[in-house]
């Protein structure tokens, strides 16, 4: 009980520290807002042009889907790979080992802080994109409170899976010293299988099966599918069960790999 309270306090401090660190760079925040706006404007135009050709169905679904994918990705993103790998390769990971709490707590704080900041900065672009989609009759979401509640649970689940996946990939840097290729390949695979590039409705049967069975879908596409509301009760149940199973599997996997990987740590940079 005491430990849990202390961990909560550490986590809250980490989040606060992240905000203080980042608030030094106000120009960066403005740049992120502009970058997000450019990305979402580009996306809207690309699909608007596609809808004008009237060649494919589900145009409204696709536009709503991509706008929501960008929004949900701000909640479920994991930045561990950006600094975690470097910490191990430079030997800075040693600092975490002498602290009286798990380094995951620190990483979690940084990630939650980063995500909150990005959500806030993304809001103007998100609202603008919804407005743009609405006036072009390409927005199909009516924000049902029950579905929003469900998708919030799915988002928390998705963030947990994404965080554990990132940390597991990070552990490979105890053994492999050149991780850039693996890191980028992981991002590509995760983006493809999470539904960031291609909505599941366009996948062939075998692709759909893989999409549903692997953990990546639950980090992005599943919460978005819930918000849009085109998932039946059976699919909702199945999605949550599979998501929780993956969370559990990844946690156990992380523990096992960490136990083995830490033995190979050489603190090279020190």
């Amino acid at each position: 009980m005491k430990d849990r309270k202390q961990n909560k306090k550490i986590l809250s401090r980490e989040i606060q520290m992240y905000f203080k660190r980042e608030s030094q760079y106000k120009g960066q925040m403005l740049a992120w807002i502009i970058a997000d706006a450019i990305k979402i404007v580009g996306l809207c135009f690309i699909w608007l042009a596609a809808s004008n050709t009237k060649g494919i169905g589900n145009q409204e679904y696709i536009v709503s889907y991509y706008i929501l994918i960008m929004f949900v990705s701000k909640f479920t993103s994991d930045f561990t790979l950006e600094h975690g790998i470097r910490n191990i390769l430079d030997g800075r990971f040693s600092n975490f080992l002498v602290k009286p709490y798990s380094y995951l707590l620190e990483y979690l704080g940084t990630n939650i802080g980063g995500n909150i900041l990005r959500i806030v900065l993304f809001l103007p672009s998100f609202i603008g994109a919804i407005y743009f989609a609405r006036i072009n009759n390409l927005w199909i979401v009516d924000f049902n409170p029950y579905l929003i509640f469900l998708s919030l649970i799915a988002i928390i689940l998705g963030f947990g899976i994404s965080f554990l996946l990132g940390n597991i990939v990070c552990l490979f840097s105890f053994k492999i010293k050149e991780m850039d290729g693996i890191r980028i390949l992981y991002y590509n695979i995760a983006s493809l299988l999470s539904g960031e590039f291609v909505p599941s409705i366009f996948l062939p049967e075998i692709g759909k099966f893989l999409f549903e069975v692997l953990p990546f879908r639950y980090t992005l596409s599943f919460p978005v599918e819930l918000i849009i509301g085109r998932v039946n009760d059976y699919e909702k149940e199945q999605g949550f069960i599979l998501g929780f199973i993956w969370l559990l599997i990844l946690f156990v996997l992380y523990k096992i790999i960490y136990k083995k990987a830490i033995k190979k740590y050489e603190a090279e940079g020190i």
């Binding site: 760079y25 960066q28 990305k39 690309i46 050709t53 060649g55 494919i56 290729g181 291609v198």
Partner: protein
């Protein structure tokens, strides 16, 4: 430092760059697994892009007046520019921030070379060069698919236009990166990344107003759409001269902004 710098001719710079490339190649011998991972990534990137375009086209022949093979050409040019850029200069300019923050930028200023050149080309990343092959694959696919419909002279002039596009791409990157020197962690490179990302599709996607902007104030149409149109034989060779003019102008502007930012630079290590 200035008189010495001006005495250095192109051959000298080429010799320095040759050594840089050798260093990059030697690193790839050391990390063979990473090269293999990058090859896999190239195939993945290509697969995702082809799949995405097939969704965008649906069952229609044309998308904003472009056929599927022509859209492959635009994406191919974009891949070539983007990954060649990451291989030659983008990664170096991305790392400029950490060099400024660590005080290592002083060493760049002390070198008997142009600081902007050395900051841009101080390392060569063979792995991104491999991914650039995905661009060549798509360009060759277009040439083979449309062999009877396009002229050889258009292909050759188009290739020159792609080289000029690389100059524009570099100049845009240098322009944005130079602000890092006087004001690190400003996030402006994320704006450049998103802006350049818009050129993955024909500029015709963006409607008349934005199109006018992309041909004049922000001339990103000259990156992929113009070379593709030259190869298609849709526009005259006069655009090549305009492209070159724009490229040289942005390069000059980027160099001026670079010098202005170097004057405002304060070393973190002193």
């Amino acid at each position: 430092m200035k008189p010495k710098e001006s005495r250095r001719n192109i051959i000298y710079y080429f010799k320095v760059w040759r050594q840089v490339v050798r260093g990059g190649l030697k690193r790839s011998y050391l990390y063979k697994t990473d090269v293999l991972v990058r090859v896999l990534r190239t195939i993945l990137v290509l697969g995702i892009q082809i799949f995405f375009l097939s969704i965008l086209f649906g069952d229609k022949e044309l998308y904003v007046g472009w056929s599927k093979s022509e859209a492959y050409l635009v994406v191919g040019i974009w891949n070539l520019l983007n990954y060649l850029g990451w291989s030659l200069f983008s990664t170096n300019l991305l790392y400029l921030e950490s060099k400024v923050l660590d005080g290592k930028f002083d060493y760049i200023l002390l070198k008997p070379l142009s600081s902007s050149w050395y900051a841009s080309f101080s390392d060569f990343f063979i792995n991104n060069f491999i991914t650039a092959l995905s661009g060549l694959t798509l360009i060759f696919y277009y040439i083979i698919a449309e062999f009877g419909n396009i002229s050889l002279i258009n292909i050759l002039v188009g290739l020159v236009a792609i080289f000029i596009s690389l100059l524009i791409w570099y100049s845009i990157y240098l322009f944005f990166a130079s602000f890092t020197i006087s004001n690190p962690r400003n996030g402006v490179l994320s704006i450049a990344k998103e802006l350049l990302g818009l050129t993955k599709y024909p500029i015709d996607v963006f409607g008349d107003n934005l199109k006018a902007i992309f041909y004049t104030v922000l001339p990103i149409a000259f990156l992929t759409t113009i070379p593709a149109n030259i190869i298609r034989g849709e526009i005259g060779y006069g655009y090549l001269v305009i492209s070159l003019g724009i490229g040289l102008f942005i390069l000059l502007l980027a160099k001026l902004v670079w010098r202005w930012n170097v004057k405002k630079y304060s070393s973190a290590s002193s």
